[in-house]
Point group: C2
Chain length 234, copies 2
DNA sequence: GAGATTAATCTTGTATACACAAACAAAACT
DNA sequence: AGTTTTGTTTGTGTATACAAGATTAATCTC
């Protein structure tokens, strides 16, 4: 059916994902002005689908649209990021608590697979691969919560925090400790100990938010190479 | 008035809020088709701002847009609603935990004011007023969490669940017990007992989700007055 | 008479055109 | 010389026109 359907999705939706990707990977860095005409030209479409994509991204907080001022990539302050990590920790924690009680055998098997895959990436010393498999691991937990809405929320926020998490895996050699924490989480879920899973997961994520000052410093060097202005709220 | 219109906000944003209001209040019931042309005519604008409003609402899950099929108000299944309440409970809980630790004297005073206002509404036996003041009470807690992102998320979800919560306050005489629970929550926050505030708030919200079957039944009578079809997933 | 296929109509998705507001720059006046 | 005002330019916001897909109805065939 997919083969017969060449374009079953809105163009603006595809564009939205592409722009989101570029924002999230830092191709469009925080503070960058997103000119509709430029984007339209760059993607070879008219302004309309670009506008729709930007509006969509704006409503999930990934771009900032101000009337008659245009769209920009929002500058996420360190405070803001801390707040988001705080919420992320709680969502993950909740997923873990529910998963410990509700996970099905098949799901547990897949969770273990994901965990093992992480181990191999760690042993091979591949942070990029680990990062990717780490995402799968967490997604498995989201799904095992058997709360579709929660899983969606967690996935969305996880995605928004992606670039910062990624940086952190590099800055410090966190692969090792991350993997150990995963092991404890799996154990708690296997044991059906919701509270244990919850608190381990919270700690697992909070760590990422706490060791954060260095991260922000690192990030500031990388993402803001040529920005002498922007002295508003730094 | 359109000529003098000094509005510094996008038209589509205003439209979005208006449409959101109508969805949330049941004027546009679940399953309803949202024809762009009809809406454009109804609001006296062209299709463009309507489209933008719908896309915005779609990205927060308030309408369902399917390519080449148009927009509809999503039918929220009972399962889905339970899931959302489950997440809401956790967000509120988190707000309470943080608020207990971080609330400032001035904020505490305002929280008490809101609580007292609820009491008066209860004594006067005005559920609609109570409902409104209840929102203020909860918003005060969100703010006191000193996590702006969390407060935004909680507010957004609270808003989406509004119609269901409102119904419930009517169906059972929950005003009394709701108020008692509020009292305990305030007490825990005053005492700085984060865990206590968290668990009380979780229970406070979960109750709304649990006594839910009757609610859905009631709701079905009210919101679906003329819908003989729609036998998809009921 | 029933089912399938085709055509017509309706609605969405995209493009283009136009209008208005804001920011920047230049010139004139204090 | 500095400040203010006005004009120009750029870019957003809305409208309209056009194209493509989906649905429905009608007609034709079995």
């Amino acid at each position: 059916m997919d083969a017969l359907n060449p374009t079953p999705v809105r163009r603006s939706e595809q564009l939205g994902e592409e722009i989101e990707e570029r924002i999230v990977t830092g191709v469009y860095p925080p503070g960058m002005r997103l000119d509709e005409q430029e984007l339209a030209a760059a993607f070879g479409v008219s302004r309309t689908p670009i506008r729709e994509a930007l509006i969509q991204l704006a409503s999930i907080g990934l771009v900032d649209i101000r009337p008659r001022r245009g769209a920009t990539v929002p500058e996420m302050s360190a405070d803001r990021l801390c707040e988001m990590f705080e919420v992320m920790a709680e969502l993950e924690s909740m997923c873990g608590r529910l998963a410990a009680r509700r996970i099905l055998p098949a799901e547990l098997a897949r969770l273990r697979d994901a965990h093992q895959a992480c181990e191999e990436a760690r042993d091979a010393g591949k942070p990029d691969l680990y990062y990717q498999l780490n995402e799968v691991f967490h997604r498995r937990i989201y799904e095992a919560s058997h709360n579709g809405f929660l899983a969606e929320q967690a996935t969305a926020l996880h995605r928004r925090l992606r670039p910062y998490r990624r940086l952190q895996l590099r800055v410090r050699n966190r692969m090792q400790s991350s993997f150990s924490e995963h092991a404890g989480i799996v154990e708690a879920i296997v044991a059906g100990d919701g509270e244990q899973a919850a608190s381990l997961l919270r700690a697992h994520v909070v760590v990422q938010g706490e060791r954060f000052t260095d991260l922000v410093a690192t990030l500031r060097q990388m993402n803001a190479p040529a920005e002498p202005e922007a002295a508003t709220a730094q």
